[in-house]
């Protein structure tokens, strides 16, 4: 037991590995010390002072998250002094917090509110009505709102931005009680070079950073008789939505999800999965053409709008490497307003195209000027998974009691290649299933397990039609930078690289249900949700996009062939360099 030390947690002895924090040691002893700013591996600054404990023989109170155990250390996790200190601290935070709980994005997942309840915090300061912070709301971006009136200054978002994306868009401005979080000088997020991955939102313990809320816009549309609402749902949504209704992390709620949409009054439900299969046809064909005709290689995937923001802002020199394919959301949107509009016999202007996405960046993507035509947008409203859950709750729909349904109509069919788009490596695997078969001219394996899993950068080489095809899969802003710098300096010729803005891919997108810091420590949400998608894949009769009858039908009926003129017009796009801090 050389590497173990004995400590006493509230009098009870326990041996823990040397170097363990007091917080962790208490966890091991079954004592859950309250915490606010602590986010394991991301933000361990010890600044909220909610996790303070008394170390016998030491002056003052110590933050347990940053105090390392020593042999024989006696730790008191709760006594009157600690209780008073923590509740006074929380009360002062509450005194600077604007309580608008009924309209808060964090109505069921507010870690701050949980603490206020746990400590029966008084509200003396708030009753004074005097807030020290100047209320600053940064509402200028297309997707994210920073609302300093709710910020508890834990700094989790600042660290998350730095550590997940490597960009450091967010930091502290001003000092003392006037401190607030935001881009430098409170520039707009867009101008600050934000890619809208939403890791800040996922890290926030309260509602100080949130997606631009579009629930009310949708509620208004529902009440407009002249409009037909068509909704599409991204693959990753079904792997997480249940968490908002008490399901275990890693539950597939596809059937209830569609039932809930129906219960909301939406009749035209399609599945973004269909567009994912379509993406493979277009992107796969594009890749084969580049490979055969000496096009720009490696080809980069283009389904993740967070990644598109990243490359347009920070690596514009690689824009020619990007596939010209739109993301599945925008492919589906374009089809809704053309093909589907014709089928329904409704003018595109009268269709409201709604997408449910696990993503923040999708909100901004839908607003790109090129994503529409003749004065209408292909996607009008983008709700995150969380917003959908709130809408379902607000309507009083008992989610867990819903009978699962399947949506009708061809644009809701999909192969197993589509749902895995929602996990890192999924787009690559789906593409390889189709590309290898086309190039080889005969049946090829279904699974490419080398590109699965949570390593930041995954690489593999496949021999396809006599060529060693080098592929890579990269996810999360920080890994993107590492990979591109490595690629720039290295000799290796890559052929095809999948990039996603969020670590883990869409299952861990910025719009997904928020997992509190404590649970984040215990489980890897990315893996649990990804498993749902791989299970769907494994249980689907057809697992290669080009085998889909629905896909074959849309090419016959409408698009012609992959990369046809019409396909280019509707399903492909272009990119442009964008500056930051340029305004």
């Amino acid at each position: 037991m050389d590497n173990y030390v004995s400590v006493f947690i509230d009098g009870k002895p326990i041996a823990v590995p040397a170097g363990t924090s007091v917080l962790k040691a208490a966890d091991m002893a079954g004592v859950r010390i309250p915490r606010l700013c602590f986010l394991k591996g991301i933000h361990e600054e010890g600044n909220c002072r909610v996790c303070v404990v008394k170390i016998e023989g030491q002056r003052g109170l110590k933050p347990s998250c940053r105090t390392i155990v020593t042999d024989g250390m006696s730790i008191i996790t709760d006594n009157k002094e600690i209780y008073d200190s923590v509740s006074t601290n929380l009360e002062m935070l509450a005194g600077n917090h604007k309580f608008e709980c009924w309209k808060c994005s964090r109505e069921t997942s507010c870690e701050f509110l949980d603490l206020l309840r746990r400590f029966s915090v008084d509200n003396r300061f708030s009753e004074d009505g005097y807030k020290h912070k100047e209320i600053r709301i940064n509402d200028t971006s297309k997707a994210i709102v920073i609302d300093s009136s709710k910020c508890v200054m834990c700094g989790r978002c600042v660290s998350a931005c730095e550590k997940y994306t490597g960009l450091g868009i967010l930091n502290f401005n001003q000092r003392g009680s006037k401190t607030f979080v935001g881009p430098a000088q409170f520039h707009s997020l867009e101008d600050a070079g934000c890619i809208y991955c939403g890791k800040c939102i996922q890290s926030c313990p309260t509602g100080a950073i949130h997606e631009k809320d579009e629930i009310k816009s949708l509620e208004r549309v529902f009440r407009d008789k002249s409009k037909t609402v068509v909704v599409q749902v991204a693959p990753a949504v079904r792997a997480a939505l249940g968490e908002e209704f008490g399901y275990k992390i890693g539950s597939n709620v596809e059937g209830q999800m569609f039932a809930a949409l129906k219960a909301l009054g939406i009749h035209e439900i399609i599945d973004t999965n269909f567009a994912a299969d379509l993406t493979i046809m277009e992107e796969g064909t594009e890749f084969i053409n580049r490979l055969k005709n000496g096009g720009v290689l490696p080809m980069f995937t283009s389904c993740s709008p967070g990644w598109i923001n990243y490359i347009e802002t920070y690596y514009p020199e690689y824009l020619d490497n990007l596939s010209t394919c739109k993301s599945p959301q925008q492919m589906a949107g374009a089809l809704i307003k053309t093909y589907y509009s014709d089928k329904l016999g409704v003018k595109p202007q009268d269709i409201v195209s709604v997408s449910i996405m696990p993503c923040i960046a999708k909100k901004a993507e839908a607003r790109r000027p090129e994503m529409g035509r003749e004065n209408y947008r292909d996607v009008d409203i983008v709700l995150t998974t969380r917003e959908l859950a709130r809408l379902i709750r607000h309507r009083g729909i008992a989610f867990a009691e819903l009978e699962p349904i399947k949506p009708f109509g061809k644009l809701a069919e999909y192969t197993g290649a589509a749902p895995i788009f929602g996990a890192t490596g999924g787009v690559m695997e789906a593409a390889l299933r189709t590309v290898t078969e086309i190039l080889e001219g005969h049946s090829t394996p279904v699974e490419f397990t080398e590109v699965r899993g949570l390593d930041d950068i995954k690489e593999a080489t496949y021999k396809v039609a006599g060529i060693d095809v080098n592929v890579a899969v990269v996810h999360g802003g920080r890994a993107i930078k590492t990979f591109l710098e490595m690629m720039k300096k290295g000799e290796k010729q890559y052929h095809f690289v999948e990039f996603m803005g969020c670590t883990g891919g869409c299952v861990n997108g910025g719009g997904q249900p928020i997992i509190n810091a404590y649970t984040q420590e215990k489980v890897d949400v990315r893996a649990l949700r990804a498993k749902v998608l791989y299970n769907i894949d494994a249980n689907t009769p057809f697992r290669k996009s080009h085998e889909s009858e629905a896909i074959k039908a849309i090419y016959t009926d409408f698009l012609g062939e992959p990369n046809s003129h019409k396909a280019h017009e509707l399903l492909h796009t272009s990119y442009e360099k964008r500056g930051f801090y340029s305004k």
Binding site: E45, G46, N47, C48, R49, V50, V52, G60, L61, P63, R66, I68, E81, D84, S85, T88, N89, M92, L93, G95, N96, R124, F125, D128, Y130, H132, M153, G155, N171, F172, Q174, R175, G176, S177, K178, T179
Partner: protein, 603 residues
């Protein structure tokens, strides 16, 4: 060429702002007219410390000390003193109390009890000329260290001296060096913390401006001791003269190869660069300082790991403040035993204090540890002016506490000040008299820390602000007894659970005044009166029968609220009075008092 006479003109910041540069120009002009420039050497020296008497000119030999010198006096000094050897009596400095004129500056009580180690060269040499430093044994200690001592011996000597950090908490400098020396890394750093931020404290500035080489030499000695080859001086950008003189000193030291590669042919290399701070008080905290050097927002981080293990850019780093370093060359020249013999057992050496507030001799004093507060305030400082009564002395800057009359005979050292609820800090010493409202004093200091909190940890960011709110409420006359309890409980919470020393000590002014001057707080919240007559909402001035009818109060009243005839007791019209206190300050016989009005009038 040797000169028969040196004229030292104070080039400290106070005297410079009283135009001492123009004195030098005038001296130059007159001396050249008299054809004396070859015989007399003009020196723009560092701070003499007695700032209240500036601009100061000292003539040697003879150490004649002229105070409040103006350009118009220069010709007389030259013609009388320089040419004929006659002292210009009218310019001689006077003792503040008995007004005795002092010819020789070592006779001044202000200097009499001082012992100058850190300030040994301030006011004695031209800080822009390395040769003047060398002439006073400058760089001799470094030479001795490099040629006769091993790094381990350097650290051991430092430990033996008992020197404790002059910047705040008073941690053993030798131990700090030892920790850094023991950390294994090819890259280590020495940092001089010159981010002097306490309001009213300027000892570091005086050293940097008056004797910059002593810091450079000390940093090189430290570098040799701990195994570092690179030093940084983190100095406030608001100290432009210090920055200029440091840059000049580094350049001169490099030219003479006292910095750079192979110093004293020993093979030891050490160089120093400046880093400018942007004026955040919290950057005086060493982890925040390092964050700032690294280009990040200056916010402290938790310790451990200590800088000696993981400091600047992750490498072992030793951080000492300016005054600490200024002691180092003297210690290595004269030996640890010599230094240890000065001061008290647990606090060896001297300490520089910046005397300010209600005291006759404001300025810098360096005294052996163990001197009592009474000696500093009444003997060296010349006591309280205007016949006012001493009330309290606040030490340790904005984070210090207030000490009362009862504790004046306690010998000053690191531990005794802490025991009295205050601290050494960087050495600010503000004297308060009966005209100071202690609630207002607490509010003043808290106002500073509220602004200077970095905003990182909750207790400091939110707690100091809430405390200030309560103090504002009390001073405005709206406080209650419950507010006092709340104030005290927040203060204790902030003290116990803040992240860095700034937050942990920010409540000191509040807690110490609550302890020693609770009656004043009670007067504010219960009787609704400010006994010192400072808080305007709680003050009503009246003129007592001590009034001699001198009319000074009436002349100084900005709203003509005072009436009366000469040699008769004057009267204040309370309906006109704006409670600014100008009359009270002007009164030579302390005849203006601030008493509570009867309840019905107080409405």
């Amino acid at each position: 060429m040797l000169s028969r006479m040196h004229i030292l003109i104070c080039g400290g910041k106070d005297c410079l702002s009283s135009h001492s540069k123009e004195l030098r120009d005038e001296f130059h002009l007159v001396l050249s007219e008299l054809n004396l420039l070859d015989e007399v050497r003009l020196v723009m020296a560092g701070c003499f410390g007695l700032c209240s008497q500036g601009p100061i000119v000292v003539m040697t030999p003879g150490e004649t000390f002229y105070s409040h010198v103006t350009v118009a006096d220069i010709r007389e000094i030259c013609e009388e003193h320089v040419v004929k050897g006659n002292i210009v009596e009218r310019l001689l400095i006077k003792e503040p109390i008995d007004k005795a004129k002092i010819k020789n500056y070592s006779q001044l009580k202000f200097y009499d009890r001082q012992r100058r180690i850190a300030l040994r060269n301030c006011g004695q040499i031209n800080p822009t000329d390395i040769n003047e430093y060398i002439a006073r044994d400058g760089y001799l200690a470094l030479g001795k260290v490099l040629s006769t001592m091993s790094p381990a011996e350097v650290v051991a000597e430092m430990k033996k001296s008992g020197l404790r950090g002059r910047g705040g908490a008073g941690f053993s400098t030798g131990q700090k060096w030892e920790f850094a020396a023991k950390s294994v890394d090819d890259v280590k750093y020495v940092i001089c913390n010159a981010d002097e931020g306490d309001p009213g404290a300027f000892m570091d500035r005086s050293v940097l401006e008056g004797d910059p080489h002593s810091v450079l030499e000390a940093m090189a000695i430290c570098g040799y001791g701990i195994g570092s080859h690179q030093g940084y001086i983190y100095v406030r950008a608001e100290y432009p003269i210090a920055v200029e003189r440091l840059n000049n000193a580094i350049k001169q030291a490099r030219e003479l190869r006292l910095l750079g590669k192979n110093i004293f042919s020993s093979g030891f290399a050490f160089d120093i660069e400046l880093r400018l701070g942007a004026g955040a008080f919290v950057c005086g905290e060493e982890t925040a300082l390092m964050a700032s050097i690294e280009g990040n927002r200056g916010m402290p981080r938790l310790k451990p790991p200590f800088p000696a293990v993981k400091g600047l850019w992750g490498h072992p780093t030793n951080v000492n403040n300016v005054e600490t370093f200024a002691n180092v060359p003297a210690i290595f020249l004269k030996g640890a035993d010599w230094f240890k013999a000065i001061g008290t057992e647990k606090s060896s050496g001297t300490k520089v204090f910046a005397l300010g507030g209600k005291i006759a001799n404001t300025g810098l004093v360096e005294i052996p540890m163990g001197t009592t507060l009474r000696e500093v305030i009444f003997d060296i400082g010349g006591g309280i002016p205007n016949h006012r009564k001493f009330k309290a002395v606040q030490t340790g800057g904005p984070s210090g506490g207030c000490i009362t009359e009862a504790a004046l005979d306690t010998p000053i050292d690191f531990d005794s000040l802490v025991a009295m609820g205050s601290m050494m800090g960087s050495g600010g010493m503000i004297v308060m008299d009966e005209d100071n409202c202690m609630v207002d004093v607490a509010r003043f200091y808290l106002d500073f820390t509220v602004d200077e909190s970095c905003g990182k940890c909750t207790p400091c960011r939110e707690g100091t602000r809430r405390m200030l709110d309560i103090l504002n409420k009390i001073c405005a006359g709206n406080g209650t007894l419950e507010d006092l309890d709340l104030l005290e409980s927040i203060a204790n919470m902030v003290k116990d659970s803040s992240l860095c020393a700034l937050g942990q000590s920010a409540p000191n002014p509040v807690l110490s005044t609550l302890t020693h001057f609770r009656d004043e707080y009670i007067a504010h919240v219960v009787d609704k009166v400010c006994p010192a007559g400072v808080c305007s909402n709680l003050t009503n001035y009246t003129i007592t029968d001590k009034c001699i009818g001198c009319t000074k109060c009436a002349k100084n009243c900005p709203v003509s609220a005072i009436s009366g005839t000469v040699k008769q007791q004057h009267v204040i019209d309370l309906s006109k009075c704006i409670r600014c206190g100008a009359c009270k300050k002007a009164c030579p016989v302390n005849a203006i008092s601030s008493k509570p009005l009867p309840k019905e009038e107080n409405k």
